[in-house]
């Protein structure tokens, strides 16, 4: 990958590929896979903000995704709230719930935080399953309406739905690029690299972590709402740890702490699993070791490995030739 | 007693040691001088078997030990008091010391009398012996680390910057202790930045720069070497 690929030109090309995809997809199946992948990519981007950038591995991420999905589902199905209002509410409810839960969890560090959030995830799951009067329990919510038209834009066919999701993904990527490239993103990274030091530098830990956490669950909540609108059904399983594990894997395959990495992982891995369908029940006998190998041999993911190599080379080159006007390191700014 | 020949070590692509050759005869106290990052610790860690040398040979009593497991090297009498102490912070001081005698675990009586000696050397440790080692101050922890190494009944003792972070009074004590240990017959290899104090008790010294030995000699010759004075003794 040459250098220009990381600039706006690279992103523009990527966006173009996204826009052109339906023309080469050939059938709805590929569109469905891609749309689902894009929805999970949005949630994965969020997870990456709190995990990859801020260093706190949140294992309740799928739980928050489910909260978004259920909010949309309950409002539209049981209360006939218009779709887009329910959609906004999905984000609001997720954030409202994320606030106290984040505050509670973020007082813990490292593995404690992770396992605590894993428990929060289990609680979210169990509540969705048991609180029948609201969530319809194990039966789940059926007949969730698809996205309502906005003016002349309708979202009924798979292609239209795909473009809607793609638009949200593009927005998500754009916002995430902005955050990670800004002073705020640097603050998150500082916390990840050493919270004692960050605090001594006058960075309020809790407030910053909470901001990262809230943005991250917002991504999850809206991804969940899109999920509900796309699949038209939600059950408690959305909150299951399996989904969190999947998203973590996407993040790792691409590379933690970059924007492009998790995006790549979230799009590429589902295609890989699709192509392994023929293995059926033996799928995970192969997939498990594959995951282990990936973590051992490519710890920074595809993008991370490549970036680290490039950053080092660039730094050496600029240090040798032009010590004053070197470019900013892309690692910090994210790809 | 201990000799290194042509030892090289690489961390990834970075060459930390480049053909190191040095030796210490039985009963000798040999000092390694060198700036930060010169490679002193790397030499020690390689000798203890924690890093595998890319090439070269390390002999203890004439036997090759390069590539041997660390545990076996300790059992043969080469014990290190590492840089950064590497204690077991939640274990009591006493347990830390007793684990130092791990390779002699079948000799209970010997270990007990050894423990007496060590606690006599560092009386403060006797007071704190039931406290978790991690709750001690930096200097006290350094004492535990030296004590733990002594519990291993070394024939060759490697001390990596034992005075780092210690109060002057304690530094003096530590050097006294080292002197006494050596006088009692233990071969000592000492890495230090505090060249002044180290050279006072040394028999011989090496100067290391960027992973190579650049100078070797008696304390007197080094003390009189201008470059050495400037770099390691100050003023």
């Amino acid at each position: 990958m040459p250098k220009w690929f990381e600039g706006w030109l690279g992103w523009a090309l990527l966006a173009a590929a996204g826009v052109l995809f339906p023309f080469v997809a050939g059938n709805d199946y590929r569109l469905t896979v891609m749309t689902t992948a894009c929805i999970f990519a949005i949630a994965t981007l969020g997870l990456n903000l709190i995990t990859g950038y801020t260093g706190q591995f949140n294992m309740a991420h799928a739980g928050f995704m489910a909260v978004g999905a259920y909010t949309l589902g309950i409002l539209t199905v049981d209360h006939q709230v218009p779709f887009w209002i329910a959609f906004v509410a999905a984000g609001a409810v997720t954030a409202l719930l994320g606030w106290p839960l984040g505050w509670l969890s973020l007082r813990l560090k490292g593995h404690y935080f992770s396992i605590f959030t894993m428990c929060v995830g289990v609680i979210l799951f169990l509540v969705l399953e048991k609180w029948e009067s609201v969530t319809h329990g194990t039966v789940g919510l059926m007949g969730i309406p698809g996205p309502a038209p906005i003016g002349p834009l309708r979202f009924e066919t798979p292609v239209q739905l795909y473009y809607l999701v793609l638009a949200f993904l593009a927005l998500g990527v754009w916002v995430m690029k902005r955050i990670t490239g800004s002073l705020l993103g640097r603050t998150f990274i500082a916390i990840r690299n050493g919270d004692d030091l960050a605090e001594a530098l006058g960075i309020p830990l809790m407030r910053n972590k909470l901001v990262a956490f809230l943005v991250s669950v917002l991504y999850a909540g809206w991804a969940g709402a899109l999920y509900a609108a796309f699949v038209r059904f939600v059950g408690p399983d959305v909150a299951g740890s399996q989904n969190t594990f999947d998203m973590t894997m996407y993040m790792l395959v691409g590379g933690l702490g970059t924007v492009f990495g998790p995006l790549l992982g979230a799009i590429a891995v589902p295609w890989l699993t699709q192509s392994l369908q023929f293995l059926q029940e033996y799928r995970f006998v192969i997939f498990g070791p594959l995951l282990v190998a990936l973590v051992i041999f490519l710890p920074h993911g595809v993008v991370g490995t490549w970036l680290a190599w490039r950053a080092r080379r660039a730094a050496h080159a600029s240090a040798a030739s032009d010590p004053i006007a070197g470019p900013q390191a892309t690692e910090v700014r994210g790809a | 007693m201990l000799s290194l020949e042509g030892v090289s070590l690489a961390y990834g692509s970075f060459r930390a040691l480049d053909g190191i050759g040095l030796h210490a005869a039985a009963g000798e106290l040999v000092v390694l001088l060198g700036a930060n990052g010169a490679g002193k610790s790397s030499i020690f860690l390689t000798a203890s078997g924690l890093h595998k040398p890319a090439s070269g040979s390390i002999r203890l009593d004439g036997e090759e030990i390069a590539g041997t497991r660390p545990a076996q090297i300790v059992a043969r009498g080469l014990v290190q008091c590492p840089e950064g102490r590497k204690l077991f912070p939640q274990m009591t001081v006493l347990k830390n010391l007793m684990l130092g005698a791990y390779v002699h675990r079948r000799d209970g009586a010997g270990n007990r009398s050894r423990l007496e000696e060590v606690l006599a050397l560092f009386p403060i440790l006797a007071q704190k012996k039931n406290d978790p080692a991690g709750s001690l101050s930096g200097g006290q922890q350094q004492m535990v680390a030296i004590g733990r190494a002594l519990m291993g009944r070394p024939r060759v003792l490697l001390l990596d910057e034992p005075s780092l972070g210690l109060a002057p009074l304690v530094v003096k004590q530590v050097f006294d202790v080292i002197h006494r240990i050596n006088a009692a017959g233990t071969t000592v290899l000492l890495a230090e930045q505090n060249a002044h104090a180290a050279l006072k008790i040394a028999h011989r010294a090496y100067v290391i720069e960027r992973g190579r030995i650049v100078l070797e000699g008696t304390p007197e010759t080094l003390m009189n070497n201008d470059a050495v004075r400037k770099a390691y003794i100050g003023a």
Binding site: N27, D28, Y29, V139, G146, D237, V238, Q277 | -
Partner: protein
Amino acid sequence: QEVVKIGFSGPLSGGAAQYGKNTLDGLKFAVDELNAENFQVGGKKVTFDVVALDDKYNPSETAINFQRLVQESKTPVVMCPHSGGGFAIQTSNDRLNALLLSYTSVPKITAMGNKHTMRIPPDFSAYVKPFVAYTMKRFGKNLAIAGADHEYAKEWTALVKPAWEAAGGKIVADNPMSYNRSTDFYSGVSKALAAKPDVMFIGGASEPTGLVAKQARDLGFKGGFIVMDQAKLNEMKPIVGSYAALEGAVGVLPVMEDNSANVKAWVARWMQKYPGREPGSEASLNYTAMRVTALAMQLAGTTSDATAIRAKLGEAIKKLPAAQNLANYDAIDANGGTSGDIRVAVVEGGKLKEVKLTELGK
């Protein structure tokens, strides 16, 4: 000769994998028989080929699988053994003209107006009243609910409760448990028994149900059991130890214990193909569903037009030879819900006995 692909999306890995496989094998067994029979549609020989995809019980994966089956494999029919997946499929099967064979008893699957759905298990509501009458008469008026808490069990509970009360009984404990996740029923059962019931309503997957019954007996329960139809008495038996321990239980007749000639013959064929593997209703019902579907294709003269096939399902049910109609289907309603004559059994004197539903509790 034409090859028609039949789609399947269900759990083939994870905790529900065995269930998924059981349903799939029922389908496959029918397909194998059809392929061996020189089956013809519109005068052309047709062979079937099952394309099975794993969805880990996850509806979003079902949605993807369904698209893949219909678009890439061109399957006119897709079978899915869980309600979430069924709902996911119903979002697009009308548009794509594909028939959903839904193996779930959740009534909503046929209440949403989907035009291409067939619900495989026959309506179970008919069991409830005779079961209630039988156990109440034999043991007494106090019932403890200790069934599972998944969607299907909830539907059942919702029918049993009013029926029991309508018959003059009392619900003394209402204590559903998670049969799918946990397998320690000590607290739950002891809680239910603390209310001194005469009869317990239990049921989820067979083995955990057996464990619940065993736990109840261990804790000294002497009354009867109303066993929800998901659990099979013969599969509970090895867990509890013997039929004697299940004395007074009433439930559906296990396929293996069915003495009718047709079923016995079918079981024999099955056991020949899968030695050592006893078929359950997952196998027999899906077998029947595939048979009905194949016959409907023949009647409609098409293997690809799901609308036409759906339209002929009713006629196919009527025409299906009794030897193949193991579900005892007698009709299918406008929404795709099936109904049929259900065969039930009770444990009396330490033995399993088939009884006519109409004679229960008389």
